[in-house]
Amino acid sequence: MAGGLANKASTDKVLMKGNEAIAEAAIRGGCRFFFGYPITPQNEIPEYMSRRLPEVGGVYLQAESEVAAINMVYGAAAAGARVMTSSSSPGISLKQEGLSYIAACELPCVVVNMMRGGPGLGGIQPSQSDYFQATKGGGHGDYHLIVFGPASVQEAADITCEAFSIADYYRNPVMILGDGALGQMMEPVEFRPVEEPELPPKTWATTGARGRRPNIITSLELEPALLEELNRRLAAKYEKIKRELVRFDTYKLEDAHWAIVAYGMMARVARAAVDKARARGIRAGLFRPISLFPFPYDSLARVAEQVRAFLTVEMSMGQMVEDVKLAVLGKRPVHFYGRTGGVVPTAQEILQALERIIQNEAPQNANGAWQKEGDAGAEGFWATGGFN
């Protein structure tokens, strides 16, 4: 399959697994080096890379561990290459020290986490319980990854392809935060050519000090004032990223009274729940963050002006919901519905959770118009036997 794809025009649609599409998109985004270690449910990425990278003059190398893999990424990025690694939750935990070094040294790279249920060894079914780790730093020190949570194979391919120029532009590691379901499912995908931004040459790379002063890549700074300066510089970069990279999507949110917030695969189920709610006369809408760092705080704050309450849905015990609360700042109630450990909430369950909220919120709001609407929804809800 890999050989065939290489010859296809970039606009042809092909049916591919999420993991394979991510691997192919990475190569089209300029990735030529891949270092990884096997773990379910992302094995198709290294497998695809091992077939395909040699065809384009790249290098695939199976590392002895995730720790080694991320440090190989560190070396390859330092040498100026476009490089990627992928793993799933336990393996991503092992990469955290390396990611902290890479972020501190401002080296570009792309990391894929196809999340599975935790904690500990957990399971191999889809999960979103690494949100905190991905978006709040993960390793030690004041740093951030740029994090995207794609919701389809097409979006995963588009973002992965673009991730390499984003990483180069900001000199920052980019994480593609998917889950087992996104990696395993097959969907039609079209590999669109990316427009590369104007990128400065990597004059900082350690390629050999030929006719110039040596380049040094280090994160050691024993002088407190200078280390603080580094942290201030990084913080300024993160502020720029917050201004420039926020991405989100909405569905039927224009006239919504109830906003469901969900990302990644969970957002697709939530979208179906919005349709189910609408069919019952509930004015529900979906807000889907695509960039998780930077999180779309401001846009979500504007939604708070319009809706009566939020329902955050995640495949976790409640992680992104904290960012939703930060965005809403107490202006509206923020509720949570989550399943975890590999259990994926159904659209029906989300609808039930929404109807429960409407039921509880309705009496507190002396607004005739939506009281009526809420009643309609609630009727249907109770008729189906309530929620558990």
């Binding site: 002895e64 440090n71 190989m72 070396g75 350690t206 050999g208 040596p214 380049n215 890549i217």
Partner: protein
């Protein structure tokens, strides 16, 4: 007037932070002289460890990367895979290489990774203040083996050269010391051989230095060198452990 002795081009003018009598400095000079003699300074990338040599990037006049504790062979692997035409070396202490980074060094050697490793075995954790290392000799006192390393509880030292020599991917493996002019000359020949092995694309090369830590051993510099000759060399015999066909050193 002819200049007969000067600073190698591969060393910067920065004064090192090493303690008086520490042989880290001699190893730096040997390495720099070899880089100069092979004419590879402008295509050399060095990877330094977490340990006393952490600031070595200030001392070598070539591109340098500071790795996390133990991971220098993985970082060097990443560099070398991207830049196969460059010369890539790592410089690591015994805690770094033989304890926290054991997996990385074993697998870099097993892969036949075409890099050169300079391994500083001083039988102690220098930078953190003299704790027991994986290479600490039986009976040797350290801050975490105050009555001497008890092998019944703390196990036995690791002989890195002997261990790595069993791997097919390892091409050149030697153990040297800098306790006398003759040993320094021998050490330099070993380092040069290791770099030549890399330049010829023959795979993984490593030179282990039995190195002094007078500060944490609680010895004078002279006694420290004597201790290497008498005690360390007995446990860790000097010599070439693995040499590629047709490259044996006549030493």
């Amino acid at each position: 007037m002819q200049k007969v002795f000067g600073r190698p081009e591969a060393l910067t003018e920065a004064p090192t932070h090493y303690c008086p009598g520490c042989t880290h400095g001699i190893v730096h000079r040997i390495l720099a002289e070899v880089i100069d003699e092979l004419g590879v300074r402008e295509r050399t990338v060095g990877v330094v460890p977490v340990g006393c040599a952490v600031f070595a990037y200030y001392y070598f006049n070539c591109d340098m990367i500071e790795a996390s504790h133990g991971r220098a062979p993985a970082v060097a692997t990443g560099v070398k895979r991207v830049l196969p035409g460059n010369v890539v070396f790592s410089y690591q202490g015994d805690g770094d290489l033989a304890s926290i980074g054991t997996a990385e060094i074993v697998h870099a050697a097993a892969r036949g990774e075409n890099i050169t490793v300079i391994f500083i075995n001083n039988a102690i954790y220098g930078m953190t203040g003299g704790q027991m290392a994986p290479t600490t000799l039986p009976g040797q006192k350290t801050t975490t083996s105050p009555s001497g390393r008890d092998t019944a509880r703390a196990g036995y030292p690791i002989r890195v050269c002997e261990m790595l020599s069993t791997l097919d991917g390892a091409s050149y493996i030697a153990r040297v010391s800098c306790t006398s002019p003759a040993n320094v000359a021998r050490a330099k020949r070993a380092v040069k051989r290791a770099f030549e092995v890399q330049l010829s694309g023959s795979g993984f090369s490593l030179v282990e230095f039995l190195s002094s830590c007078p500060t944490n051993w609680g010895m004078t510099p002279i006694d420290a060198l004597r201790w290497i000759d008498e005690k360390m060399s007995a446990y860790y015999p000097l010599g070439e452990y693995k040499v590629p066909e047709g490259a044996r050193q006549g030493a």
